[in-house]
C-alpha cells in the first residue's frame, strides 16, 4: 500500500492510529520521567503533590536538588572527562582506519575489516570482562616479574576509557568511512599537481571535507560513552561515572532527584544532537 494507490478509508485510519500509538509509546516513559522531576513529593509517583523546583535547586534535606548533591555532580564530571577522552581517541583512530581502508589495498584486507566490525557484535559485558581479565593478567605478570605495581591496570577510569574506546572506535570508523567514500579523489590529485605535498593535500583538501563527519563521530562517541553502562559496570573502580551512580541510587529506591538528573541528561543530549544536525547541514 502506497499513497498513490487508493485504499479503504478504514484501513488508512487504523494505520494512522497505529503509528500515533507507537509514538505515544516512545514518548511516554520519557514524559513521565520529566514530569515527576517537578513533583513536590519524596517519591517519583502519584499522587501529584504540587509543582516544585526543589529537586533542581533545593539545598536542605530531605529535598536536596541536583545542583547541591555533591556525589551526582562529581560523577557528571567523571562521565564528562571519560566521554571526552573516549571521543578524542576513537575519532583519531577512526579517521586513521577510514583512510587505511579507503586508500590501501593490502593482504587480509577483508579479514581485517570483519575483525574491525566484531566489537559491534560482542556483548558489552563480555568486552568488559575480557579487558578486565587481560589487564589483571598483565598487572599481575608485571608485579611478579619486575615488581612494578601499575595502578592504571586495575579497575578504574583508565580501564573504563579503554573499554568504551574498544567498541566506540568501530562506530567512529564507520561514520567517517561513509563520508570519505563519497570524496572525489581528483580534488586531492589536483592539489598534488599544483605542487602540494601529499600531507598538505590531505590536510588542506581532504580533512576540511571530512570535518562534519568527524564532528558527527565525536558527538555520537561522546553520547555513547556518556550513557554506556554494560562495559563500564565491569571495569569501574572507586570513581563512578554517572550511569553507575544513578544505578546504585535506583537500587536503593528512587527519589525525584533521579528524575531531575534524567531531565538534565535529556536536555543535554537533545542539545548535542541539535548541534550535530546543524553541523551536518552546513
Amino acid at each position: 500500500m502506497i499513497p498513490t494507490i487508493p485504499q479503504n478509508r478504514g484501513v488508512n485510519l487504523a494505520y494512522n492510529a497505529y503509528v500515533t500509538l507507537f509514538f505515544l509509546y516512545l514518548g511516554l516513559p520519557l514524559a513521565v520521567v520529566a514530569v515527576f522531576a517537578f513533583n513536590d513529593s519524596q517519591f517519583p509517583s502519584l499522587p501529584w503533590e504540587g509543582f516544585t523546583w526543589d529537586w533542581f535547586f533545593g539545598s536542605e534535606r530531605p529535598k536536596i536538588g541536583v545542583f547541591h548533591e555533591r556525589p551526582i555532580l562529581r560523577s557528571i564530571g567523571t562521565s564528562g572527562i571519560v566521554a571526552v577522552l573516549v571521543s578524542l581517541l576513537s575519532v583519531a583512530v577512526g579517521t586513521s582506519n577510514a583512510f587505511l581502508f579507503n586508500r590501501y589495498q593490502f593482504r587480509f584486507r577483508g579479514f581485517v575489516y570483519v575483525l574491525m566490525l566484531l566489537p559491534l557484535v560482542i556483548p558489552g559485558i563480555v568486552l568488559g570482562i575480557s579487558i578486565l581479565v587481560f589487564s589483571s593478567t598483565v598487572a599481575n605478570g608485571l608485579e611478579n616479574g619486575v615488581g612494578w605495581d601499575i595502578e592504571a591496570l586495575r579497575p578504574g577510569l583508565v580501564l573504563v576509557v579503554l573499554g568504551q574506546f574498544s567498541f566506540i572506535t568501530t562506530i567512529a570508523t564507520l561514520v567517517i568511512s561513509a563520508r570519505l567514500q563519497k570524496f572525489d579523489i581528483t580534488l586531492e590529485e589536483a592539489a598534488l599537481n599544483l605542487g602540494a605535498s601529499r600531507l598538505t593535500a590531505v590536510r588542506t583538501v581532504t580533512m576540511p571535507y571530512l570535518g562534519p563527519a568527524m564532528v558527527g563521530a565525536f558527538v555520537v562517541a561522546f553520547l555513547m560513552s556518556f550513557e554506556n553502562f554494560n562495559t563500564t559496570l565491569m571495569l569501574v573502580g572507586s570513581d563512578a561515572p554517572l550511569t553507575i551512580t544513578m544505578f546504585d541510587r535506583l537500587k536503593e529506591g528512587s527519589t525525584p532527584l533521579l528524575n531531575a538528573v534524567s531531565l538534565l541528561l535529556m536536555a543535554g543530549s537533545s542539545l548535542l544532537a541539535f548541534i550535530m544536525i546543524l553541523v551536518q547541514r552546513r
Binding site: 502506497i2 516513559p29 520521567v33 583512510f99 559491534l120 556483548p123 575480557s130 565491569m234 534524567s262
Partner: protein, 290 residues
C-alpha cells in the same frame, strides 16, 4: 628516483595508518578474548595453584540453574527480537513510504530522540509507569477497572516491555533505510499485475527489506542478550538473566574462572545465532553492518 620516494612515502603512510588499528584490535579485542578463554580453562586446585581442565564448563552444564538461565535468556532474546520486528515494521514502512518530505524527516528524527537518552533513564521511566504506586496502576484504579493497586513490575512481561523499547531504534533505522530504497513504481507494478496488499508485501516488500530485517534483528538480539540493566531493574527475583550470573561470578563471588566460562558461553551463543541467521538469509557481516 622520484618514483621510489613516492613508494617509500606510501609505505610509511600505510604503516602509520595500520599501527593504531593493529594496536586497538590486538590489545583490546583479540588478546583479551584469548586470555579470557585461557582463564576459563583454569581449574583452581589449591591456593594459587591451577590446572588446565574443562571443569568450569562442566559446572555450567551440570548446574540446572545456570543452564536454565542460559536457555531462558536466549529464548527471551529471540522473542524480544521478533516482537520488536513486528512492532517496528509497519512504523518503518509508514515513515519510508506513506509520508514524504518534512513530515518524513520529522517522524524519523522523532524515532531517534528517545535513544539519545541513557538506557537507565528509559528503564527508570518504565519503572515509574509500571510499579504498584505507578501511573498505570493509578489510572486503572481511577477508571474503576481494579479495586486496589496493581504491581506490574518485577516479572517477565515487564522485562519484555523494557527490552523491546530499548532496542526499537536499532530496528527502525535499518528498516527505514532499506524500505526507502524500494521504488514506488515497483509496488505500483505489483498492483497493476493484479497483486493484492498481502501478496505484494510477501513477494516484493519483505524480500527487498531483507538486509534491513537481518541487520536490525542481529543488533536487537545482541543487545537483548547482553542486556544487564533492564532485567536487573524491571525483572523480579525469579527472572534471572545470564549477564547477572556473569556479574555475580566476577564481582560478588570473585570466581573469575567460572565467570570467564560464562562469558565465553554468552559470546558463543551470540556468535552462533548471528552466524546462523547470516547463513540462512545469505547475508554477510560486511554487508549488514558496514
Amino acid at each position: 628516483m622520484g618514483g621510489r620516494v613516492v613508494r617509500t612515502e606510501a609505505r610509511l603512510g600505510f604503516i602509520l595508518l595500520l599501527t593504531p588499528l593493529v594496536l586497538w584490535l590486538s590489545l583490546l579485542i583479540v588478546i583479551p578474548h584469548i586470555d579470557m578463554f585461557l582463564v576459563s580453562l583454569r581449574e583452581r586446585v589449591g591456593v594459587r595453584q591451577y590446572q588446565t581442565s574443562l571443569a568450569n564448563y562442566m559446572t555450567f552444564l551440570g548446574e540446572p540453574l545456570y543452564l536454565w538461565t542460559f536457555l531462558r535468556t536466549a529464548v527471551m532474546s529471540v522473542l524480544a527480537t521478533a516482537i520488536t520486528l513486528l512492532i517496528a515494521f509497519p512504523v518503518s514502512y509508514y515513515i519510508a513510504k506513506m509520508v514524504k518530505g518534512r513530515l518524513q524527516a520529522a517522524l524519523f528524527l522523532l524515532c531517534l530522540v528517545p535513544f539519545w537518552v541513557s538506557e537507565l533513564v528509559r528503564t527508570f521511566g518504565w519503572m515509574i509507569l509500571l510499579r504498584e504506586t505507578g501511573v498505570f496502576s493509578n489510572l486503572l484504579q481511577w477508571a474503576g477497572l481494579v479495586d486496589g493497586p496493581v504491581e506490574m513490575l518485577y516479572n517477565d512481561a515487564a522485562i519484555m516491555v523494557g527490552l523491546v523499547y530499548t532496542s526499537m531504534l536499532f530496528m527502525v533505522v535499518p528498516l527505514v533505510t532499506t524500505l526507502e530504497s524500494l521504488d514506488d513504481s515497483v509496488i505500483e507494478a505489483g498492483y497493476d499485475l493484479g497483486g493484492s496488499g498481502p501478496s505484494i508485501l510477501r513477494e516484493i516488500v519483505i524480500p527487498h527489506a531483507m538486509p534491513g530485517i537481518v541487520s536490525g534483528s542481529i543488533v536487537v538480539f545482541m543487545l537483548s542478550l547482553g542486556n544487564y540493566l533492564t532485567p536487573r531493574i524491571l525483572g523480579g527475583k525469579d527472572s534471572l538473566w545470564f549477564t547477572e550470573l556473569i556479574y555475580s561470578q566476577f564481582i560478588v563471588r570473585f570466581n573469575w574462572e567460572l565467570g570467564a566460562a560464562f562469558g565465553f558461553m554468552l559470546l558463543f551463543l551470540s556468535s552462533a545465532i548471528v552466524w546462523a541467521v547470516l547463513r540462512m538469509t545469505g547475508q554477510t557481516l560486511e554487508k549488514t553492518m558496514g
